[in-house]
């Protein structure tokens, strides 16, 4: 069973994205921020992480940096709502620099996220 981790501080976003993923047949675990996400990743096997960039406690970029070191095999997709101060482009560039395969700008269509997830998990090195 392929497990996807959804990390976002907005509960409604988590609910919506998780629901779509579950409908697509994935096992879903959730986390509110980067620190919680690391806790989850260290306690169970996760195949892909969907990470919001702007979160309290530990944001998406910090999490991505840690993942590169601790979980280099883990695929990551970034979500962005537009950071309050940094321009969108900059956070997107940062996210991809630190290992996110792609950045989705909210409000995006969840179906697009599912397609990207399927593509990433079909790749050889993520199986």
């Amino acid at each position: 069973m392929t497990t996807v981790l959804v990390v976002d501080d907005a509960p409604a976003v988590r609910f919506s994205v998780s629901r779509s993923l579950k409908k697509a047949g994935y096992e879903v675990v959730e986390a509110e921020n980067g620190r919680q996400a690391l806790g989850v990743l260290r306690s169970q096997v996760v195949d892909l992480a969907v990470i919001d960039l702007w979160m309290p406690v530990m944001d998406g970029i910090e999490l991505l940096k840690t993942l590169r070191v601790e979980f280099p095999e883990l695929a990551a997709i970034a979500m962005s709502g537009g950071a309050p101060k940094a321009p969108i482009d900059m956070s997107a560039a940062l996210a991809t620099t630190w290992g996110a395969e792609r950045v989705f700008y909210k409000p995006f269509d969840n179906d697009d996220l599912i397609i990207e997830t399927k593509n990433l998990l079909a790749e050889p090195n993520h199986q």
Partner: protein, 667 residues
């Protein structure tokens, strides 16, 4: 202190005795020495000495006199002798004390010579008879010789004072009274003085030798000439040196040649001539000082006047009463007011201000005049409309000044602060937009997080309902669409806050970009609106992105279309121009894009806020009000300039300056 006093006494004694010896040697008449030179020393000493030393001088003089005459008279009449001895010095003491109390600086011969000469004349006149009365018992000729004795003593004393006091004052001031200012040209004066004195003597002697019978009269008058010449040429200094010299030479002549002339007559004549030339000399010196003061004053004034004329601030001087007639206005004043150099002297400032300013200044002007009338000073900020219809913001400051002669004038300073106000306005606008951008970014982020579930869950719900429940599906579709529209708006807001310098730009032909943008919009414009394009600037390049051009053109055309409400003209022009000093853009080459409509236009209030984000004149739901702020942001990013010109009922024109691409300058 005591050593100084002792030194003074010894010095005085020495000089006094020397002078007495000289006087004795110069005896030329039947009476005792008639040129009493030591009197000059006493007079000068009493006038010059600092208060602590004055009594020392007095004591020294009495000592000197007693040394000289003690052997002569004491045995005959001790009391009379004592009185005679003390009378002269004490009288001089009293007279000089009087002079010092009336005249702040008695050493300043050039100022109070009259009083000084009077004192010189009066003192011996008081002292001499008292001397003589007591001495008659000592064996002098009684009877009608008395009169001539009195006169000769008085005249002798006076001659001594007038001859030598000024000289001693010049010579001795440095060690007795260092506060006295130095006289100039003493060396040259001395040489001249000697020459003049010799000339005078020559005149005197020639008169005496060739015309002995009337030698007392007209011919002696010629000796006045060299004295007067010394006075006019060298002032006080020349006289102080010439007078004693001439007197000395005359006496020597009388002593050696012994001509048959009345010595007393000669004495009186010399006395008169010396006093007169002393007075003339001091007058000349005073006048020269005045002239020099005036010249210096005039020089200073000239410098100040040049500074006032050159300052970029407007300076105006008016009467202090209504209607403030202008006495002086520098060229900057008329430049600021009228844009040209015009003669404003004689015009009324109140009228001038009223005609040059527009109605918005009524209240500030009224307050200004009221305040000036009440307390003489006031400040205001006014807007002046020049003849070339340019408006200048100016600060005006008024203060009233009381002149030295007692009149009052008003001085006004006019400063042109137009550029400063414009810059402040632009700064404020920029700050507002920056903070709005930041706010927008933060808000957008939160809303995006909320829109995501709205859009996606509505969509899911719609699909899960299947073909049944068409009505509920309709509701869900509406929710979905609304969410998407909200997302688009937020996107626009974020694009406003985004750092768009990352947008890739290459030099493109601006006219082509405008052309295609206009064509893109033509289909959307109703046929009843006439669109005219005059696109110059062929082939001119600008560092812009074609979509940015499209965004701007679209926004402005849409605005114009909505303003025209179905009927009217839109004119789009493109040309090039050079920016110069004082224009809205810095110097350089520019493309100028203008989009104008002949719609209802807008008033100044609206025009000021037209580029503000979220400012819209449309009804709620009809528009976001973001279009023009996006346009503004793009133009700013291009380092260009956008302005709107509009009057109610006269349409609206947007003017955009775009810097022409310069391949030599990489921005």
């Amino acid at each position: 202190m005591w050593t100084k006093k002792l030194a003074l006494v010894i010095g005085y004694l020495v000089v006094h005795i020397l002078l007495s010896i000289i006087s004795a040697k110069l005896e030329v008449g039947p009476n005792i020495s008639i040129w009493h030179l030591p009197s000059g020393l006493l007079f000068a000493g009493l006038l010059l000495a600092h208060p602590p030393f004055r009594s020392t001088v007095l004591i020294a003089d009495i000592l000197a006199r007693s040394i000289w005459s003690i052997g002569l008279w004491l045995p005959h009449d001790p009391i009379g002798f004592s009185i005679a001895l003390l009378m002269s010095p004490l009288t001089y003491f009293g007279v000089t004390a009087f002079i010092r109390s009336r005249v702040p600086s008695p050493f300043d011969l050039s100022r109070k010579a009259t009083l000084l000469i009077l004192g010189m004349m009066a003192a011996p006149a008081i002292a001499a008879p008292l001397n003589v009365v007591n001495l008659t018992s000592g064996g002098f000729l009684p009877g009608n010789a008395m009169g001539s004795l009195i006169v000769s003593f008085w005249v002798g004393d006076a001659i001594g004072v007038i001859t030598l006091a000024p000289l001693f004052m010049l010579l001795a001031r440095r060690w007795i009274a260092p506060n006295v200012p130095a006289t100039q040209g003493a060396k040259a004066s001395t040489i001249e003085a000697v020459g003049l004195a010799m000339a005078g003597t020559a005149l005197f002697t020639s008169a005496g030798l060739f015309d002995q019978s009337s030698a007392a009269s007209a011919s002696k008058f010629l000796t006045l000439v060299p004295l007067a010449a010394a006075a006019v040429r060298r002032g006080t200094t020349g006289v102080a040196i010439t007078v004693p010299l001439l007197n000395l030479f005359v006496v020597m002549f009388l002593a050696t040649a012994k001509p048959a002339i009345d010595v007393l007559d000669t004495q009186l004549a010399m006395l008169a001539y010396s006093s007169f030339s002393l007075f003339l000399g001091s007058y000349v010196t005073k006048e020269r000082q005045h002239l020099s003061d005036i010249r210096e004053y005039a020089n200073q004034n000239a410098i100040l006047a040049a500074a006032v004329e050159a300052t970029p601030l407007g300076v105006v001087i008016t009467n202090a009463t209504d209607p403030l007639m202008i006495r002086y206005a520098n060229s900057s004043f008329s430049q600021i007011l009228n844009g040209c150099d015009s003669v404003l002297v004689g015009k009324n400032l109140m009228d001038l201000f009223t005609t040059n300013t527009d109605d918005t200044n009524q209240k500030p002007l009224h307050d200004l005049w009221t305040k000036i009338r009440k307390c003489g000073h006031a400040e205001a900020e006014l807007v002046f409309t020049r003849a070339d219809s340019e408006s200048r913001h100016c600060t005006v400051t008024f203060a009233s000044i009381t002149q030295s002669e007692g009149g009052r004038v008003c001085v006004g300073i006019l400063a042109d602060v137009t550029e400063r106000r414009l810059r402040e306005q632009a700064e404020r606008q920029k700050e507002r937009l920056v903070s709005l951008g930041q706010l927008a970014g933060g808000v957008a982020h939160e809303i995006n997080n909320l829109l995501h579930p709205i859009i996606n869950l509505a969509k899911e719900a719609e699909s899960e309902l299947g073909s049944s429940n068409a009505e509920i599906r309709e509701l869900l579709r509406c929710i979905h669409q609304s969410g998407q529209q909200a997302g688009e708006i937020v996107e626009k807001v974020l694009s406003f806050a985004r750092d768009s310098s990352k947008v890739p730009r290459t030099p493109i032909r601006f006219d082509e970009a405008v052309q295609s943008a206009v064509e893109l919009n033509r289909r959307a414009i109703p046929r009843s609106i006439n669109v005219e394009t005059v696109l110059g600037g062929d082939g001119v390049l600008a560092l812009v992105h074609p979509t940015e051009v499209a965004q701007i053109v679209t926004n402005l055309i849409v605005n114009a279309t909505q303003a025209l409400d179905g009927n009217g003209h839109i004119v789009i022009t493109l040309d090039t121009l050079s920016g110069g000093e004082g224009d809205v853009v810095p110097p350089g080459q520019y493309l100028r894009l203008r989009i104008a409509d002949d719609g209802p236009g807008m008033d100044e209030e609206m025009a000021k806020r037209i580029f503000d984000p979220f400012f819209t004149t449309k009804a709620i739901g009809q528009g976001t009000g973001l279009g023009l702020s996006v346009v503004y942001g793009i133009v700013q990013d291009w380092q260009g300039h956008i302005a709107v010109q509009s009057m109610p009922g006269q349409g609206t024109e947007f003017t955009i300056h775009i810097p022409v691409y310069n391949p030599d300058v990489e921005s």
